[in-house]
Symmetry: C2
Subunit: 505 residues, 2 copies
């Protein structure tokens, strides 16, 4: 592939001077237009070692209003980053609406490093590539314009620049060691890079290889590519705007209910007496506490997701788990309506930010499944968006599990009468009054629509790796014990099977 590029391409200084001001102004105007239209942009810069990435980014940012972009240079991951799956730190740096995130090396370098460190003969697993593609597609689907550059220089040019660098910067030579050493090993890397670039050049995020022997030529090509992609994105937005998205998607929700609901197959009347409950809870608490230590020592990240009907008892169940855990390495994340900052990112962003690091336990009280529940039912997102979410969520959960994490998800189901009884109780309880709002009463009227959404969610996202646990919750004792015993069982299995704890991603 690389041999198809003519590295002799160059620009005279006079040619360069005659075009560069126009390009800068055009890019500056586009940046402002993107800000007004709230379109986020990701620019990825990869390339051979000494291909001039830093210089190119510097020239590029000349044109940009500093309030609208941020350069993320991909250094060695820090402690916290190392304790999360590889892509985590990049997710955190995805741009909010209207912002430009410039990656000076990226998940591609990390992927190459990881596999060249592992000393594998074929350094790229298809999982690694599909994880990248999934992330980029999710972002692109959410409206992020992704533009990726590979700066290509010849072996000879690279050698020349290395020599020059070493002569000039004896004291700083360590400073450029972020690029994998193998990126200098031209012949060995060439086939690996060719595969990487061709397999990850997807429709929404294609690679542009930039002939980089001549810096002026490279900079102009980068400018022109960005401008053309940004203009293209504006055009396709304009096209989209003519098609009005359906605001409420409740019709779509209703139409799905041909088969029998999964939820109806559960016996909600299951119960436990207090005499059965108390000792079983105690056993669970004790064992959970011990298991947490082992999990912590083995550095396994554990994520526990809770969804359920209003007043199904999520809070009460979570408190019981939380009490058994050492707060030094566990946290409950209550999920409310997104803040403006959260709203201006991909909907998964606020959850990914708060995922546990290795050895910690995070309990989410409401989760990313809000996308296919409340957001679907209330029309906070389009049908295309929530339909897409099933796959997006499955991919994310799959990624977390393959990265060595444990995921559990609980759906707490009650019937309508139980809900009514609990709502009334809450109104009269000094400690629980705050839990009941007008919104809860409004949601109650949408019981059937929510049931349809729940049913579809459970069918589409109960995967072998991360199945839903449906918790019959009319009786709180029964529900809490089922949850606690499930968590203990899953953790027991995880700590006993050593193979499962290995990071495979």
């Amino acid at each position: 592939m690389f041999d198809k590029f003519d590295l002799d391409k160059s620009l005279e200084k006079s040619e360069y001077d005659s075009v560069i001001d126009g390009l800068r102004e055009r890019l500056g105007v586009l940046q402002r237009e993107f800000r007004d239209k709230k379109i986020p942009v990701i620019l990825v810069f990869e390339g051979w070692r000494f291909s001039g990435i830093s210089n190119t980014i510097n020239r590029l940012t000349y044109a940009l209003d500093p309030r609208g972009y941020r350069v993320h240079s991909t250094q060695q991951p820090n402690e916290i980053e190392r304790a999360h799956p590889m892509l985590w730190r990049f997710w955190l740096n995805t741009p909010s609406q209207g912002q430009i995130a410039i990656f000076d090396r990226s998940w591609y370098t990390d992927t190459l490093l990881k596999y060249s460190d592992a000393g594998k003969k074929v350094p790229l697993s298809s999982h690694a590539l599909s994880d990248i593609i999934t992330m980029e597609e999710q972002l692109a689907n959410d409206g992020v314009v992704i533009i990726k550059f590979f700066l290509h220089v010849s072996k000879k040019e690279q050698k020349k620049r290395l020599k020059k660098f070493q002569d000039q910067h004896k004291e700083f030579s360590e400073d450029d060691s972020r690029a994998p050493k193998r990126m200098r090993d031209y012949d060995a890397m060439q086939p690996v890079l060719e595969r990487l670039l061709s397999e990850t050049s997807i429709e929404n995020a294609p690679w542009t290889v930039v002939e980089g022997n001549d810096r002026r030529y490279a900079i102009v090509k980068v400018y022109e590519t960005i401008i053309s992609r940004m203009e293209g994105a504006l055009d396709s937005r304009a096209d989209l705007a003519t098609q009005k998205p359906a605001k409420k998607s409740s019709n779509a929700a209703k139409s799905q209910n041909a088969e029998r609901s999964i939820l109806q197959t559960f016996d909600l009347t299951k119960s436990l007496s207090e005499e059965e409950y108390a000792p079983r809870l105690l056993v669970c608490e004790k064992r959970l506490h011990e298991l947490q230590y082992i999990i912590h020592t083995k550095k396994i990240p554990v994520t526990i997701l809770f969804e359920g009907c209003d007043a199904a008892g999520k809070g009460g169940a979570i408190i019981r788990i939380d009490r058994a855990l050492n707060p030094r390495c566990s946290v409950v994340e209550p999920i409310a309506a997104p803040t403006p900052d959260e709203k201006s990112h991909h909907y998964l962003w606020r959850f990914i930010r708060n995922l546990p690091k290795a050895g910690d336990i995070t309990i989410f009280d409401r989760t990313w499944y809000g996308r296919v529940l409340v957001e679907r039912v209330e029309g906070f997102c389009t049908e295309t968006e929530w339909q897409r979410a099933y796959k997006e969520i499955n991919s994310l959960e799959d990624y977390l599990v393959r990265s060595g994490g444990i995921l559990m998800k609980f759906w707490l189901q009650i019937d309508q009468n139980t809900q009514l009884k609990r709502f009334n109780e809450r109104e009269n309880d000094v400690l629980k009054k705050y839990k009941i709002t007008d919104e809860d009463w409004r949601n109650r009227k949408k019981w059937d629509i929510y049931s349809i959404a729940t049913d579809e969610m459970i069918k589409k996202t109960s995967t072998p790796a991360v199945p839903w646990t449906i918790v019959e919750s009319n009786d709180k004792y029964f529900a809490r014990i089922k949850i606690m015993e499930t968590i203990v069982a899953v953790l027991e299995e995880a700590v006993s099977s050593t193979g499962k704890n290995k990071k495979s991603v």
Copy 2:
């Protein structure tokens, strides 16, 4: 001091059982009331090693809605935290309005560790104590209720618990090593702790020493203290609410102008021709680039603050600096109106979060001085609040400098005619149109009030360690060169004086 506490105090199980449920319910109700009233709470737990901090916190959180509190356990600082001044990571974890932040060991343990690591004979400098007091006072003044506990056990009891722990937890023994080892060295630590506690027991954040030999007694005392402090805080709020704060403080602003304005002493007509400007800029850019490398290698954090009249040329000046810098270790932080999350913290929080780590350069486009400028003039805060801010800001800047950082602050001043000319130009410029809003025209009418606020700010916050640089900015060339040459000069001095780069805090 410690000998005044009777460690034989204890509670029978029956007594404990008869009070604990009532205490839990009361605390639960108070938590909800604090949430509704948006009052943040900080609970600090310190104590001898094996004094039962973890267990006490666990018992305490029984009573709390997990959505309203977070436990921060103070582990060894991570890489990023180590690259900031000590108090930085605690600032980040201050609670937002209505939330409770529980610190399982805190800045006190860090302070003790730091000085016992340093092997000093008197392990507490008065700077270390006054930095802590300053932080706590700033938070308390902002409405945070701070409740600090020291769990006190006898030497004998400590020994007993250590033995028990070692027997039970052979595999996890390393896990409790967060407490300084000297915290076990009872006799040596006692005078140090006594001094620490007595000097930091300030009016708004007094220490409560808890007799901890008997766990039941300790837990009840902790509950009762928290409840009494929280109830007290509610009462004093109620008192405050009867005194209406003056919403607009413009009168107060006007009354300050007896002396001649500092700003009037500057000659705004100073200028440079393009022929003078271009080569001097080039020299600065080149040297700044080199200095950045040295700064980076020496791991000095550099903060550059920009304030000035609207259209004074802050953006243009910042772009010139930014161009000279390697984006791998520099960033521009544009400050807009605070987000809801930022609003629900101390006004310094959002700036502190974004301070540079050691070796990085952060340029703030507008700063914490907003408190005494726009917030004062527009009445976004009370007069008490902005009057207090001068000292708060001076303390923060002083702390950053003593922690080994470099701070520079620039005020860009233009006259009213120049501003009018630039506003009109902006309206007609495709790249600058977005910079001018109705608000700018409104602010222009408040020129005199802003001048008074600026004048007072410069007088009160130009300290020997961090003086303001007033930049005569009617001529952009002159202004940019003055800024660039000042930055270069300050950095030159910093890298040449080795003593100055040492961390002294």
